[in-house]
C-alpha cells in the first residue's frame, strides 16, 4: 500500500500553467524541477501537495525549446525554483521577475551564456527591486562568517540601521547532490541521503527509504516504523534546541546558552547510545532499521524524562526572561498572508497561522499508530512565535517518543532479534514522491527507479523552500536583529545549496 497518493498528470506546455494554477488553488505549491530525459527533451515538473494527495504535473518542452511560462507572477514560491532551473539547465521562465544566479556562481552562468554581460558582475538577486540612493551601502555577511556557520553569503543593504533588502547567495557550498545520487546504487543511496543535510540524517534517510518501500508496496515492520519515529523525534528536539542555543548565543545569555547546549549534548548522546552515531546515521535502511534500538523502551523513557526535566525548566526560565524576549518580540515578522502566499512550511509556517504538518495531515510510517494532535498555530509570525512553536514541538516530540516506546514495549518487550526490525525489500521500478516532516518542514524525495537503478533523485529540502521567504522577514528590523532572524529560521544551508 502506498502512503502518499501520487497523481501524475502530463500536460502540454500550453496548458501547463493553467493546470498548475488550478491544482495550486486546492493545495500548496510544494516544489518545482526540470530534468532532461534520455530523449534529450527537457521536462518541467511541479509538485502540488494537498491534505490527501500529491499531484505531480509534468510538461515537456519541444526539442531546442528553452522557454516556458513562468509561474512566479501568480505563485511567488516558484521564484527560487525557476532561478534554480535556469542555473542548472538554462531554461528560461518567461515573465519571471529576474532570473539571476542562485545556485551557480554568476561567473559560471556568464560563461554558459545564461547571464548578460551587464549582469555578469558578482550580483545576486534583485527580485525585490534594487535599492539605491544616497548613503545606501551593502554589507556582505559571508561566505566566511563570524562564528562556526555554514558558508553562505547574505548581502545586507542598509543606510544606517534599517535593512530594506537582503540578498542571498547560497551557491558557495554547492556539492551537486542530485548528480551524485545518479551514480549511486539503490542501497548506497541512503548513505548519501543522510548527508544531504547532515543535521537531518534521519528525516532524509526515512524519506528515501519510504520512497523505495512505497514503490515495492512493502511496509516495514511496525516496530521499525516506531523506532524511526523515536529517532526522528530526537532529531527534531536536537534541531529545535540548536535554534534556541543560537538565540541565546546571539542575546548574550551566557548561562542559558550553557544550560541549553548541555541539554542538546545530552540529546546527542542519547542518539548515539541508540544507534551508535550522534546523528543516527546508518540505522535507517530500506525495509526498516538495520539494528534494534540499543536501549530498551523503558530505558529510553527514563533517559528522556531525565533530560526533559532540566531542559524544559531551563526553557521556561528563558521564556520568562524579559531581556531575552525583547530581542525576539516583533523581530523578523512574517504575516499570515505572506506565509500563505509563499507556501511556507515547517515551524516558520506554523508561527504564521498554518496548520501544515504532514505528521498530522498525511500521517506516514509510525505516526499512523500514534495519536498525534496538531498543535494550534501561532499568528504573530515573529521570532518569538517561531521559538514558541518550536518549544511546543519539543513537548510534542517528547510525548511521541514516550508513546512510541510504549508501543514498542507492547509489541515484544524482549525483542532483540535484528530480523524483526527489518523486512526484505524487493526493489521495484517506478516513480514516487515521498514526503516526511523534517524538523524544518516538509521534505520531499522525488525518486525514479528504472532497471533497479536510481535513475533520478531530486531532493527538495524544507530549507530551500523556506529560504526564499527570508528577505521578507526584514521589516523595520535593524542590523543587530539579523542574528535572531537567521537563528529563528533555523535553516540548513547544505540543503539550500544542494
Amino acid at each position: 500500500m502506498s502512503d502518499d497518493r501520487l497523481t501524475i498528470s502530463t500536460v502540454s506546455l500550453a496548458n501547463f500553467k493553467q493546470r498548475v494554477l488550478l491544482a495550486a488553488s486546492n493545495g500548496r505549491f510544494a516544489a518545482m524541477t526540470a530534468y532532461r530525459n534520455d530523449d534529450q527533451m527537457f521536462y518541467i515538473e511541479v509538485v502540488v501537495s494537498s491534505r490527501s494527495e500529491i499531484n505531480l504535473i509534468r510538461a515537456s518542452l519541444e526539442l531546442n525549446q528553452k522557454n516556458y511560462p513562468s509561474l512566479s507572477p501568480q505563485i511567488p514560491a516558484a521564484i527560487w525554483y525557476e532561478r534554480e532551473i535556469h542555473d542548472t539547465y538554462g531554461l528560461i521562465a518567461d515573465g519571471h521577475p529576474e532570473l539571476s544566479p542562485l545556485v551557480s556562481r554568476p561567473t559560471e552562468c556568464f560563461k554558459l551564456g545564461r547571464l548578460d554581460k551587464n549582469d555578469a558582475d558578482i550580483r545576486g538577486s534583485k527580485v525585490m527591486g534594487n535599492v539605491r540612493g544616497e548613503g545606501v551601502f551593502s554589507i556582505p555577511y559571508g561566505p566566511v562568517r563570524s562564528g562556526v556557520f555554514e558558508s553562505i553569503e547574505y548581502r545586507v543593504y542598509s543606510f544606517g540601521e534599517d535593512i530594506p533588502l537582503v540578498e542571498i547567495r547560497p551557491y558557495y557550498k554547492r556539492r551537486g547532490v542530485a548528480s551524485c545520487f545518479e551514480k549511486m546504487t539503490v542501497e548506497d543511496g541512503v548513505i548519501l541521503a543522510e548527508r544531504v543535510e547532515g543535521t537531518l540524517s534521519v528525516a532524509h534517510a526515512t524519506a528515501y527509504c519510504q520512497g523505495l518501500e512505497q514503490l515495492s508496496s512493502t511496509r516495514p515492520p511496525k516496530i521499525a516504523e516506531l523506532g524511526r519515529v523515536i529517532l526522528a523525534e530526537l532529531e527534531r528536539i536536537a534541531n529545535h534546541l540548536d535554534t534556541m542555543v543560537r538565540h541565546t548565543e546571539a542575546a548574550g545569555q551566557a548561562i542559558a546558552y550553557a544550560r541549553l547546549s548541555f541539554s542538546k549534548e545530552r540529546i546527542m548522546r542519547l542518539r548515539s547510545l541508540l544507534s551508535g552515531s550522534r546523528f543516527s546515521r546508518g540505522i535507517v535502511v530500506p525495509g526498516g532499521l538495520n539494528a534494534p534500538l540499543a536501549l530498551s523502551p523503558m530505558a529510553i523513557i527514563t533517559a528522556i524524562t531525565d533530560i526533559e526535566n532540566i531542559m524544559l525548566s531551563d526553557i521556561e526560565a528563558l521564556m520568562t526572561t524579559p531581556s531575552f524576549l525583547d530581542r525576539l518580540r516583533n523581530t523578523g515578522k512574517i504575516t499570515v498572508a505572506e506565509a500563505a502566499k509563499t507556501g511556507a512550511i515547517g515551524p516558520i509556517a506554523r508561527a504564521s497561522g498554518s496548520y501544515e504538518d504532514i505528521r498530522g495531515t498525511r500521517p506516514y510510517g509510525g505516526y499512523r499508530y500514534l495519536g498525534f494532535n496538531l498543535a494550534p498555530p501561532m499568528y504573530q509570525g515573529d521570532a518569538l512565535a517561531r521559538a514558541l512553536v518550536r518549544i511546543e514541538e519539543i513537548r510534542q516530540s517528547l510525548h511521541l517518543i514516550r508513546q512510541a516506546a510504549d508501543e514498542i514495549a507492547e509489541i515484544n518487550p524482549a525483542s532483540l532479534n535484528p530480523e524483526s526490525w527489518r523486512c526484505n525489500l524487493e526493489i521495484k521500478d517506478g516513480l514516487v514522491v515521498s514526503s516526511v516532516e523534517s524538523p524544518q518542514g516538509e521534505l520531499l524525495y522525488h525518486l525514479e527507479v528504472s532497471n533497479k537503478k536510481l535513475k533520478r533523485v531530486w531532493v527538495r529540502c524544507a530549507s530551500f523552500h523556506n529560504m526564499a521567504l527570508f528577505p521578507t522577514a526584514f521589516k523595520g528590523d535593524i542590523l543587530t536583529d539579523f542574528a535572531f532572524i537567521e537563528a529563528s529560521f533555523g535553516l540548513c544551508i547544505a540543503g539550500v545549496a544542494g
Partner: protein, 288 residues
Amino acid sequence: MPWITRGLRNGIVTTRYPRRRDGYGEGFRGAVVVKGYLSDQASGISSVPIADRSEPGSLQAEHRLARQLELLCPTNAIRADSDVVRVDRGSCILCGRCVAERGDIFAFDPSIEVAALSRSLLFVPELTDLEHEREHLREQLGKKVYSLRRSIYVRHIDLGSDGAEEWEIAALNNPVYDIARLGIFFTASPRHADILLATGVGASNMVDPALRTFEAMAEPKIVIALGTDAISAGIFQRSDPAANGIASILPIDLWVPGSPPSPLSIRSAIFLAVDLLPKAKVKEKERR
C-alpha cells in the same frame, strides 16, 4: 538573578579528558579497524592474511575475497590484496557496512584519537615504514607551533560540508567539552587565528574564499582537515563537479577522519596540532 543559581545546578558536567579517559568517548563509534583474523590477540592489529595458502586453489579464492571486501565499501575505503586488508580512514564514512557483513574482519573501534599527521598515516593497519615519517612530521609540527602553546585561536571555514561538522565544532563550546578552559578559543577574524578548521568536500565555489582566509592568517598557521568529507570527499567523490576534499586547495597539517568526527575527536586533534596531548597518550595511540 535566577540564572545565577540555575547556572550552579547540576554541578560540574565537564569531561575530565584529556587528563582522564572519557567514558562516553570510550563507548563511541570512532573508527573502523581491521581485527586480528587469526585470533592472535597478543599482536593486536596487524596485517591480516585472508586465506590459508596451503589449500589448493587458494590464490583465486584470495583474489575473489579481496575483491569482495573492496566492493563492500561504498567509498572505496577498503584496499585488499592477497596479503593485507587495509581500511583507509580518510575515505571511511563509518557506514558500518563492512562491520555488518564481515564482522570477522572489520570492527568498530571506540577510539577518539583518530587524527593523523599525514594522509598516509590514516590507513589501518598502518602502511609499513612510516615510523620515521611520523616522528619527522611531529617534530616539524612541534617546531612550528612552539610559540602557540598557551592560547590558541581557531577559525572555522566550511568548504561544502553537510552541516553536521559545524554542530560538532560548536559543541566544543558547551559545558561538557568547554574548550575555553583549556585556552582554545574561536575567533571571527582569520587575522587572529592560529588554526584553520576546514570542513566540507572542497566545493569549487569556496576555493577563492578559502584561499583568502588562509592568506589572511598570520604565521605560524595550521590547517586541520576536519571530517572524511574534507579529507577525501567521502561519498561525494562521485559528484559533479568532482570534489576530492580540501587537500588540493589548502596545505593540510592534520587529518581528522570521521563522518562527522565527534567533539572529543576534534578536541584531541586540536591538542595534537598544538602539541598539547600528553606524551604518554600519544605513545599509547601510536602503539595502536
